[in-house]
Amino acid sequence: MSMLVLFTLVSTVSAKEWKKIRVGVEGAYPPFSSVQADGTLVGFDIDIAKAICAEIGATCTLVPQDWDGIIPALLARKYDCIIASMSITEERKKKVAFSKKYYNTPAKFARKKGSGIAISKSGMKGKVVAVQRATTHDNFITAEFGDSVTIKRYGTQDEAYLDAVAGRVDLLLADSIAMDDGFLKTDKGSGWEFVGPNYTDPKYFGEGAGIAMRKGDKKLHQLMNNAIDAIRANGTYKRINDKYFNIDIYGN
């Protein structure tokens, strides 16, 4: 009897039709996702999420969630997938499954104009570097420059920008596209500039940003990969891409 109950339970779970999908998003990472004054979510991640849902033919609910708790909340079934510029890394793969990448852009440092800080261990000695906590950028700076700089870790990228403007930090390390559009090209970021090389080392930065799902949801995984291929092929991706960026951020 109990075997039978268990069997029915398992079969209903695996046969789940994805007509409704709840998508975890961040909302503090312009231009990928941010909250407008009236409370609506906008950005590249948000548009991609909507396009993918339309492709799958599901109704989607967007659930904003702070970065710190974004994976635990997925595992706690508060939503079914995360579309929030999450880099595909080995550490995260231990907990969640990833779709194929939906974009890949390099990381880069920014400094205050006129500060003359050089990107090297000696040039950055004693400087304060701001990163978003537990991102690929955090892992990179901790491993590569952790012994020569002071690292300040923020819950959101927006808070890091706030302290950069206030003069509490000397350098920012973040995704180059996100930082360019979300900070450097804005009024408050006008006093800052890029410095140093593009960082793409897969050891730290993974293969790009993917959609994270629970490991058991194999069907959803398949649907997501197909949907990414489909919007790449049918021009939807390009339309969204061109709305925000003047280069193709999908990468190679």
């Binding site: 970065w67 710190d68 708790g69 994976i71 635990p72 595992l75 550490e91 995260r92 907990k95 906590r133 537990a134 955090d138 300040k152 870790r153 923020y154 819950g155 706030l162 302290d163 403007v165 206030a166 003069g167 509490r168």
Partner: protein, 231 residues
């Protein structure tokens, strides 16, 4: 399901955080206490003009959340160019000092209110007796009112010390790696919210246990005259 491996390998981070928490709380309590004493004395004054400013201070700091006070000092001060360009920015630039200032001002408000209450509870007979002995006002405060005040304030102040310890967790929100900040780093790096926060909770519990023990000892000493005597 539980993954305590990452907790054990990150224990040094927790101890670093614990040390920051202890520094912040201890310094805030000392500064706050010395700020609270004059505020409490003024708040018990008979002169309304002297009474209003300290009472407003108490009202403000007890009436707003510690997190709001800390954000006003940390983010709020950073907003003004005049402050960013002045000498005092050396202090406000550092999250550590911003947190300390917020904690000290906050605990001063609560401590002043505790002391105000216990000053006003001084039995009139004691004051009368002191006056009959010809004590000056200063001597009266030094020998009679303040010792009794501190003794009566002890249990309530013990609570305030524990609240300050627990309240200090808000420091983890403004990039300070205190005990809570350490737990947040471990959580977000390894995605183990339960294990990382219960570990921080355990540390807070241990410190609270020590504080409770210390106050019990102090109470035992200061209330020695009330113990039943064996003949």
């Amino acid at each position: 399901m539980m993954d305590y491996e990452v907790i054990f390998s990150n224990i040094p981070l927790y101890f670093e955080g614990l040390w920051v928490t202890i520094q912040l709380v201890l310094m805030a309590l000392v500064l706050g206490f010395f700020l609270a004493l004059p505020i409490a004395l003024l708040a018990t004054s008979k002169n309304i003009l002297l009474r209003v400013p300290p009472k407003s201070y108490i009202y403000f700091f007890r009436g707003t959340p510690l997190l709001v006070q800390m954000f006003m000092i940390y983010h709020g001060m950073g907003q003004f160019e005049a402050i960013r360009e002045s000498v005092i920015w050396i202090v406000f630039k550092e999250a550590y000092w911003c947190a300390l200032i917020a904690f000290a001002l906050n605990t001063a408000g609560y401590t002043a209110e505790i002391l105000r209450g216990t000053i006003e509870q001084t039995p009139f007979g004691e004051i009368e007796a002191a006056r009959a002995c010809g004590m000056s006002k200063t001597t009266l405060y030094r020998r009679i009112i303040l010792p009794g005040t501190f003794r009566r304030a002890l249990p309530a102040y013990g609570n305030e010390v524990i609240f300050m310890l627990h309240g200090s967790a808000v420091a983890g929100v403004i990039t300070i790696v205190d005990l809570f900040g350490a737990a947040k780093i471990v959580n977000s790096r390894y995605f183990v919210p339960f294990e990382s926060f219960i570990t921080a909770g355990f540390f807070y519990l241990c410190v609270t246990f020590i504080i409770v023990g210390l106050f019990k000892k102090l109470e035992f000493r200061w209330y020695a005259h009330l113990h039943p005597r064996t003949i």
